[in-house]
């Protein structure tokens, strides 16, 4: 225990560690500020777009009024009546857009949910007849169903949504859509989600692989407590060898202190966006929904996603975050055990970081198997079942990931210890 406390103290006393932590915190704050300003710009952009519509329709109405008067003078009453109907239609559009603008400005989400909900009803009632298109390409029925259910939950919970670059339907993007070319660009632009509240922003970050990046940097900062004492110029490890102190105790003191700091660092980095949000839009609601895919059943013609039949459900943020925290604990243990092993062997922290980053990236992208621990790196896709659905491998689950990380982590830690114990010259 004393050895452990001593190692902990050594880490805290290092100026490099403190500067590195401060830099990371500053980077996380910068990221939050950037995202916040982009989200604000998008919301302002939506309002500005809505401001232009009443003007356009007012112009149409005025032009039609002139046409109507001309028709009236010419004695064409049928035409004049037709123009009258057009004017009514334009005035109705003006009122509707004014209301919509007001709802956006006042962030009256309930009214906006109600509008979206009503507009989507036709696609739910008649899935074969009514189709929603982006240019000439159809939106999948799965996305429509998922968006409809999401709006229903948001409306029931009176929660705030993500900000999206659209004044029409705020669709929930799913893996069932297959847009190409300019439709894809438009779809991505309209469905890119920006969280303004703390919890939403954290979810947005988790989707962008924030946690693996934080763990990687954490390993880089805290995983060098053996390698820094075994360089050509610093032979601190030799001192321990002559002390009446077992190597097992020494290894675990160094290993556990680094891991403990990594865990605390990762949690702090996760908390930064939440703390920042307290000064802006608040934490938000933990009742908000997260889409979970239930996979696709194989058919006679092989594996394929079926947007009409495939099922889904939602979990709330609370359940999602508990899962993330547990996953973070075992994932950081797994990554740290690899880094520690590399650090014993390589000594250069930068090379160990590059190697670990490369191994993780290659493992994530090149081998689809439930026994590949790197496939679980994208927490969000594992918890939501996206990876399992896309790879048609329903065995890639959250629980498998937890067990695998734990087992491989223990095995790698043991190898690390053996390497440490029996290496003649560290």
């Amino acid at each position: 225990m004393r050895g452990f406390l001593f190692e902990c103290k050594k880490v805290v006393k290092k100026k490099t560690t403190l500067i590195a932590i401060s830099l990371s915190i500053l980077a996380a704050i910068g990221l939050y500020m950037f995202n916040h300003s982009v989200a604000e710009d998008i919301e302002q952009g939506n309002i500005s777009r809505l401001e232009s519509f009443p003007e356009i329709f007012l112009n149409f109405a005025n032009e039609t009024k002139e046409e109507k008067e001309k028709a009236f003078v010419a004695g064409d009453t049928a035409k004049a009546e037709e123009f009258d109907r057009d004017i009514d239609h334009y005035q109705e559009a003006i009122v509707n857009y004014e209301k919509l603008k007001k709802s956006f400005e006042e962030e009256d989400w309930e009214t906006l949910y109600e509008k979206d909900f009503n507009e989507m009803q036709i696609f739910i009632d008649d899935p074969n007849g009514a189709v929603y298109k982006i240019e000439e390409q159809e939106l999948s029925n799965f996305t429509i169903r998922a968006t409809y259910e999401e709006i229903k939950i948001l409306k029931e919970n009176k929660s705030k949504p993500f900000i999206q670059n659209t004044i029409y339907q705020s669709f929930l993007p799913t893996i069932y859509d297959d847009f190409t070319g300019s439709s894809l660009e438009q779809w991505e632009s309209e469905t890119k989600r920006y969280g303004r509240e703390g919890f939403s922003f954290l979810i947005q970050l988790i989707q962008l692989l924030y946690i693996p990046a934080v763990v990687l940097i954490g390993c880089f900062i805290f995983g060098n407590n053996i390698s820094t004492e075994a360089t050509k110029k610093n032979r601190g490890m030799n001192l321990y060898k002559v002390l009446p102190y077992s190597r097992l105790k020494l290894f675990f003191a160094k290993y556990l202190s680094g891991y403990m700091y990594l865990l605390v660092y990762s949690m702090v980095m996760m908390a930064i966006p939440l703390i920042c949000s307290l000064f802006t839009n608040g934490l938000g609601s933990l009742e908000n929904p997260i889409l979970v895919y239930e996979g696709s059943q194989p058919s006679l013609f092989g594996n394929s996603l079926n947007p009409m039949v495939d099922q889904f459900h939602f979990i709330d943020y609370r359940e999602y975050f508990w899962k993330v925290i547990l996953f973070l604990a075992v994932f950081s243990f797994f990554m740290y055990s690899i880094y520690f092993l590399l650090a014993i062997q390589i000594k250069s922290a930068t090379i160990s970081l590059i190697l670990l980053g490369t191994i993780t990236y290659l493992g994530m992208t090149h081998l689809v198997s439930k026994f590949n621990p790197f496939i679980y790196t994208d927490f969000h896709k594992i918890i939501t079942g996206e990876t399992a659905t896309l790879t048609y491998n329903l065995e890639i689950t959250y629980t498998t990931g937890l067990i695998l990380y734990l087992l491989v982590g223990i095995a790698l830690s043991l190898i690390g210890y053996i390497k440490f114990r029996f290496k003649r010259q560290l």
Partner: protein, 366 residues
């Protein structure tokens, strides 16, 4: 000169740089082998894509026939004719693809898209945007004019297109970041291991030492670039049978204009060289300022990842020097001017080096 060679030797002796070069060669060779093996996949993908369109059109044909049986109507008859015509053309296109008659394939593909646009106007099903189809027709016309087959930009093993793929994969913020992290070690390690005390005791002025360090690291960076470009050119050039004017392949810029692949490569090489100079000046600046591997590396990581996030959110400014770190995008972006971009990078590099020299001129060693 001796100092320059000594600095080069020191970096090479760390083994990390040599390993990085080796991994780069392995990566390029691996991608070339993978693409060569997957050549048949190009045909399979194309056939699959048009077979799906054919199925959609066939479904419409069945529906129109059914409607006509119930109630003959001139409009439906017209739609059926258009659908049958399109169906026939798609069949012809699939046949051309399978028989690898690329000139016929290009012409038939244009016919298919023309008919498809007319068919879409009649509310027929064809799951491609009109804007994309028009772009595709323009590209095919350009290819026919130049007598070149259409290439798959991801799987091609034509020298210029394969080089473009490598540029996209390696010469981006992440590729440059890894190189900078490796090169940066040679600056910070000297301070951490206190070797710098010996260096500063030698009769060498600090500006001269910093400049030597800069030039040696830049040479290593340029050496890496040379390997990236030469291997990605030589592999397909030696092992793939290429068409005579394959370097005039038309590539589409962000505004939809065509530039030839040789023009693209020329600009990519120039941008890479200047960006390399700029990147190395950044390492020299932070390395000599901070003198700590972990902190310097973290700053480089945050700088590059932050830049990547900013670019991905559409904040592209030609005055931001880090924008040019995504070489493919820098070349294809019509807003970027080669002369302005390279002058900006060169000017900033000079400025950063001068600042580094000034800051370290009288600074002591703790």
């Amino acid at each position: 000169m001796k100092l320059f060679l000594f600095e080069m030797k020191k970096t090479l002796y760390t083994k990390a740089f040599t390993l990085f070069i080796l991994l780069t060669v392995l990566f390029i060779s691996g991608l070339y082998i993978k693409n060569t093996i997957q050549q048949d996949m190009i045909i399979v993908n194309k056939v699959q894509q048009f077979s799906e369109h054919r199925s959609d059109v066939f479904r419409d044909i069945q529906q129109y026939r059914h409607l006509l049986e119930e109630l003959p109507d001139a409009k439906t008859e017209k739609k059926l004719q258009a659908a049958l015509n399109l169906y026939g053309e798609i069949n012809e296109l699939i046949q051309s693809i399978q028989e690898k008659q690329w000139d016929n394939e290009l012409q038939t593909e244009m016919n298919v898209y023309q008919s498809a646009m007319e068919y879409q106007d009649m509310e027929g099903t064809f799951d491609v945007n009109q804007r994309d189809m028009q772009e595709m027709i323009l590209l095919n016309e350009e290819l026919i004019k130049k007598g070149l087959p259409k290439e798959d930009l991801n799987l091609s093993i034509e020298p210029s297109i394969f080089m473009k793929k490598i540029i996209t994969l390696l010469l981006n913020p992440f590729g440059f970041l890894v190189l900078l992290l490796i090169l940066g070690i040679s600056v910070t390690k000297e301070f951490e291991e206190k070797n710098i005390q010996m260096v500063y005791a030698l009769p060498i002025s600090r500006p001269y030492y910093i400049l030597n360090k800069f030039v040696s690291l830049m040479s290593l960076g340029v050496c890496w670039l040379f390997i990236v470009f030469s291997i990605s050119f030589l592999l397909p050039f030696i092992f793939t049978s290429t068409t005579e004017n394959s370097f005039s392949y038309p590539l589409t810029s962000t505004e939809g204009n065509f530039i030839t692949s040789s023009h693209y490569l020329k600009e990519a090489i120039i941008y890479s060289l200047f960006y390399m100079i700029f990147s190395v000046s950044i390492i020299i600046f932070f390395g000599f300022l901070i003198r700590n591997t972990i902190i310097t590396s973290l700053i480089l990581v945050f700088l590059h990842i932050g830049n990547f996030i900013v670019l991905m959110n559409g904040f592209v400014y030609s005055r931001n020097p880090l924008t040019y770190g995504m070489i493919d995008f820098a070349v294809l972006n019509d807003e970027n001017q080669l002369f302005f971009g390279t002058s900006l990078l060169a000017g900033l590099s000079v400025l950063i080096i001068i600042i580094s020299i000034v800051l370290n001129k009288r600074r002591g060693i703790r």
